[in-house]
């Protein structure tokens, strides 16, 4: 008797669950318990998916700091505004259009056609639609924000806004639907073939990276970057800010990778460990190679290496072993250094923060590595599919982004005026310097010198 009562009360206590079925019962039933269990697990899934999404959102701060720190002080306000607005406009565009194209019902396998303006939720009121959207929108924002770094210090603000809407509404979601559509209502041709890209080395990072490449090519180098064919160094204005950004990105990346389970399960452990080891190995690889090549351990390269390791493990974080993760990260760290130098000095494409190398090149590497180091064993077919996916990403993103930037250039113009660029975009575009009142008060350090 007593016991029955207790347990009944307890059941009712399972507030989180709309326990309609149970309500009618006088006492808990096996079926009722089973339902309650599912509900609790579902709550945990929501909890994890959202916390992970919040961490991924925080990466926006990381991107803003990295890009601000690695560019010159006179363009800081501008780069920050770009990072803020590509998230702000991008999220609204993704709500209106992007999500539907990426995860809507897709007959063709090439893009979705249902769920614009989150209409799925309006229809069935299933909160999972919202939780899933929340997780996906911050991914879209990540892809979008990558470009700002590569086009920093010379891109017209308004033109950048247009770009960021287009990538969030069309370019990113369409490719995304090929590889991830079936995570919700879609069904992409690429995932159908068994393409492995767990958290988005290709879907997010390469996509962002190749768009960045197109942008950097179309807009051309910063004034004074190439003086009679020789690349000139244009150091950023705050390594401290840049490093903080990298740490924030690393932190957010745990949400990015481990959160991609969108379920609170035990797979997250392997993902977290792989993410950690790859990042560490990436930093180490980049430091060593830069030490050898440039005689000194280069800080900006080592920081890029950390990100390279993270990008590299993103695709395979759930299907490779920790040992492989170290290898993947290490190689990514080496690749990024070579790639930065190659793009900057050989291709003479001006990418102030190395976005193309970090996200585009290492994203490709990571996608390949997810196949090569697959714990379930590697097959020719798998490698083929991975290569196909990598190629598809490039062939879809680069041309479309290239055309986009060309069109912008031909119409409203892509680049700030030369005067504005020399004076700095901050005053020209925003009428505000980043450090208007900075006083070093160095008198105090009279004691410290």
């Amino acid at each position: 008797k007593m016991k029955r009562w207790i347990s009944l009360m307890l059941l009712i206590l399972v507030l989180a669950v709309p326990v309609t079925v149970l309500a009618e019962d006088a006492a808990p039933t096996v079926a009722g318990n089973a339902e309650a269990i599912t509900a609790v697990q579902k709550n945990a899934d929501f909890l994890w998916t959202l916390v992970a999404a919040f961490m991924v959102f925080f990466m926006q701060a990381g991107f803003a700091m990295v890009e601000a720190g690695f560019t010159r002080a006179k363009n800081t306000v501008n780069i920050i505004m770009k990072n803020l607005m590509d998230m702000s406009l991008g999220a609204i565009a993704y709500w209106a259009i992007g999500f539907a194209l990426m995860f809507g019902v897709s007959k063709t396998g090439w893009f979705g056609t249902t769920g614009f303006f989150l209409s799925d939720y309006a229809a069935d009121k299933d909160p999972w639609t919202l939780a899933f959207w929340m997780f996906q929108v911050v991914f879209a924002a990540t892809a979008a924000t990558i470009v700002s770094g590569a086009m920093a210090e010379r891109t017209k603000f308004v033109s950048y806004l247009i770009y960021s809407v287009v990538i969030s509404a069309l370019i990113y979601p369409i490719f995304g639907s090929w590889a991830w559509g079936s995570l919700y209502k879609g069904s992409g041709w690429l995932e159908g073939l068994g393409f492995i890209d767990f958290a988005g080395s290709t879907v997010v990072h390469s996509v962002g990276g190749w768009a960045a490449l197109a942008g950097a090519i179309v807009i051309g180098p910063r004034l004074g970057k190439y003086v009679n064919g020789k690349a000139k160094a244009m150091p950023g204005h705050s390594i401290t800010t840049g490093a903080l950004g990298v740490f924030i990105l690393w932190f957010g990346w745990y949400g990015f990778n481990a959160g991609s389970t969108t379920a609170a399960n035990t797979d997250t452990a392997l993902i977290a460990v792989n993410t950690t080891l790859a990042a560490c190995a990436g930093a180490f690889g980049a430091m060593v190679i830069s030490w050898i090549k440039f005689r000194k351990p280069d800080a900006t390269m080592t920081l890029n290496g950390t990100l390279a390791g993270l990008v590299g493990i993103t695709a395979g974080c759930a299907n490779v072993l920790p040992g492989s993760a170290i290898l993947i990260g290490l190689i990514a760290g080496v690749i990024v250094v070579l790639s930065v130098v190659f793009i900057d000095q050989t291709l003479k494409i001006d990418d102030p923060v190395g976005a193309v190398s970090v996200h585009g090149v290492c994203g490709a590497w990571g996608t390949l590595a997810a196949g090569l180091f697959n714990a379930e064993g590697v097959t020719m077919k798998l490698i083929g599919v991975q290569l196909l996916g990598m190629g598809a990403a490039f062939l879809w993103v680069f041309p479309t982004a290239y055309i986009l930037f060309r069109v912008i250039k031909a119409t409203i113009g892509l680049r700030a005026s030369a005067e504005e660029e020399m004076e700095g975009l901050d005053l020209g575009e925003h009428g505000l310097a980043a450090y208007p009142d900075f006083q070093a008060h160095t008198e105090v350090s009279g004691a410290g010198i």
Partner: protein
């Protein structure tokens, strides 16, 4: 021509500049300097260690003016930079041999 160099307090810059405008001063340049003089810096403590802040932040004004205008400029600076408290700063006058306006190549007085 004369080169006038004035060390003034930070927060006096606006006043002095506006006053100089009024008497039609065309140009000047400003540098942040650290000053050391009668006005001794205060003692501070950093993490328990006492130390003297020996240098105080000051503003250095540099103006090139015609001999005729010199005295007037000096007076204007003095009147507007003055608080009457120690640390108000100083005005230094030098002989200026020649001036060239880069844009036009003009020399001497008309280059001012």
């Amino acid at each position: 021509m004369k080169k006038i160099e004035a060390i003034i307090k930070h927060f006096k810059l606006d006043e002095v500049r506006d006053a100089l405008n009024k008497i039609g001063i065309q140009g000047m340049n400003v540098t942040e300097v650290k000053g050391f003089g009668r006005q001794k810096g205060h003692m501070e403590v950093y993490r328990g260690v006492e130390y003297e802040v020996k240098f105080l932040p000051k503003i250095k004004l540099g103006l090139a003016v015609s001999d005729s205008k010199a005295e007037e400029v000096i007076k204007v600076i003095q009147d507007n930079a003055k608080t009457g408290e120690i640390g108000d700063g100083k005005i230094f006058i030098y002989e200026l041999e020649d001036v060239i306006r880069i844009r036009t190549g003009e020399r001497g007085e008309e280059a001012l």
